[in-house]
């Protein structure tokens, strides 16, 4: 072992607990990214605990001054004003995020082959997907606030009349709230929506910034000179985590 030719080879041959060896066989940066994501998962979990407890103590019933049915609120689609289209827009957002996750993982794969042009191309696709998602979320927030969502109150409770009105319209029919359809509901409804989707949106925004930085580094040949594209993998881990959080936001805020 005294005269090793390559540092890396000697590094890998060390016994696990002697020091000088990565027990998980990942790089320092990637391990730290995983640790960060774990702590971030805890952060999102605290928000989910808060949301779940509030929600379960205000059980959803169709006719309610309790937790509002998401289908009665998130039923808008851009350029289709006044139509009842629950879940459609948010499914499109989910599709955009899944697609950008795939282009990200394709960039990672191209990085393994050290193909600079392909990495750059897939990074551009990923950035476009992220910006598209953020735009969708901005529209969603705008519509929600326009409908009367406030941090300190909730006017999305549904009366008997409102329930009959809502159940009489089908998917894609024209729908506008009438007087007396809505009443007050549990106060933290909109606040929790804004906090959780806002926190997730902020993560998407940071992800886009990270991806732009990594893209510029790729184009300028930083990774080419470095000899490996591991930075793409680290950025990718973060980006997939954002997608992962969205899976649960989608499930708990829109589906259930």
């Amino acid at each position: 072992m005294a005269n090793h030719t390559s540092t890396q080879a000697s590094f890998e041959n060390q016994p696990t607990w002697a020091g000088g060896r990565s027990p998980f066989n990942v790089s320092y940066g990637k391990l730290m990214m995983w640790i960060f994501l774990l702590s971030d998962a805890f952060t999102f979990s605290t928000l989910l605990v808060q949301y779940g407890t509030q929600r379960f103590s205000n059980v959803v019933t169709p006719i309610t001054t309790k937790w509002p049915d998401p289908a009665s609120i998130f039923n808008h689609f851009p350029f289709m004003h006044g139509l009842h289209l629950p879940l459609l827009f948010v499914s499109v957002m989910t599709f955009i995020l899944i697609l950008s996750s795939v282009t990200m993982v394709l960039a990672v794969e191209a990085g393994h082959r050290k193909s600079k042009a392909e990495v750059a191309r897939y990074m551009v696709y990923t950035i476009i997907g992220g910006i598209a998602f953020l735009s969708c979320q901005a529209w969603e927030w705008y519509t929600f606030i326009h409908e009367g969502a406030r941090l300190d109150g909730n006017t999305f409770g549904i009366t008997k009349q409102g329930y009959d009105h809502l159940t009489s319209v089908g998917f894609g029919d024209h729908f506008e709230w009438a007087d007396g359809d809505r009443t007050f509901g549990p106060v933290p409804f909109a606040a929790l929506f804004f906090i959780v989707t806002g926190f997730h949106g902020f993560h998407v925004f940071s992800g886009v910034v990270i991806n732009v930085v990594v893209y510029i580094m790729t184009v300028r040949g930083v990774f080419e000179r470095r000899g490996h594209y591991e930075m793409i993998e680290k950025a990718g881990l973060y980006w997939h985590f954002v997608d992962l959080v969205w899976v649960f936001v989608f499930t708990f805020f829109y589906l259930i």
Partner: protein, 114 residues
């Protein structure tokens, strides 16, 4: 046992394991799976009336999607098992906490109506 004192011998900060491309087949398979489950979510939402079972299906599908994102996209399936456990075991406890507090939430509901 030998210790490394010379600079450049021991370089944990700059150590990068050798990686190879495994092709894009698994990645596209995962994409179609995630897309399929999302479409299934959408269909079930309209076909099935709201119930505890429907919520169970949605949460189950969410966990399946999480498995494929973490396993295939984040490559955790192909990492060392120790790393995977360090990350997954704490999350199991967190899931336990979430389900426990949901139960407590419905107890709050009962108490508020007393």
């Amino acid at each position: 046992m030998e210790f490394y004192n010379k600079p450049g011998d021991y370089d944990a900060i700059n150590y990068i394991p050798h990686t190879e491309s495994h092709g894009t087949k698994e990645l596209w398979k995962t994409f179609w799976l995630l897309l399929g489950i999302t479409v299934l979510d959408f269909v079930i939402y309209f076909v099935m009336p709201a119930s505890g079972w429907r919520n169970f299906i949605f949460i189950f599908f969410g966990l399946v999607k999480a498995y494929y994102i973490v396993g295939a996209f984040m490559h955790l399936k192909h990492e060392k098992i120790n790393l995977a456990l360090v990350i997954l075991v704490p999350m199991v406890f967190v899931l336990g906490l979430i389900s426990g507090l949901l139960y407590e939430g419905s107890a709050l509901e009962v108490m508020k109506s007393l």
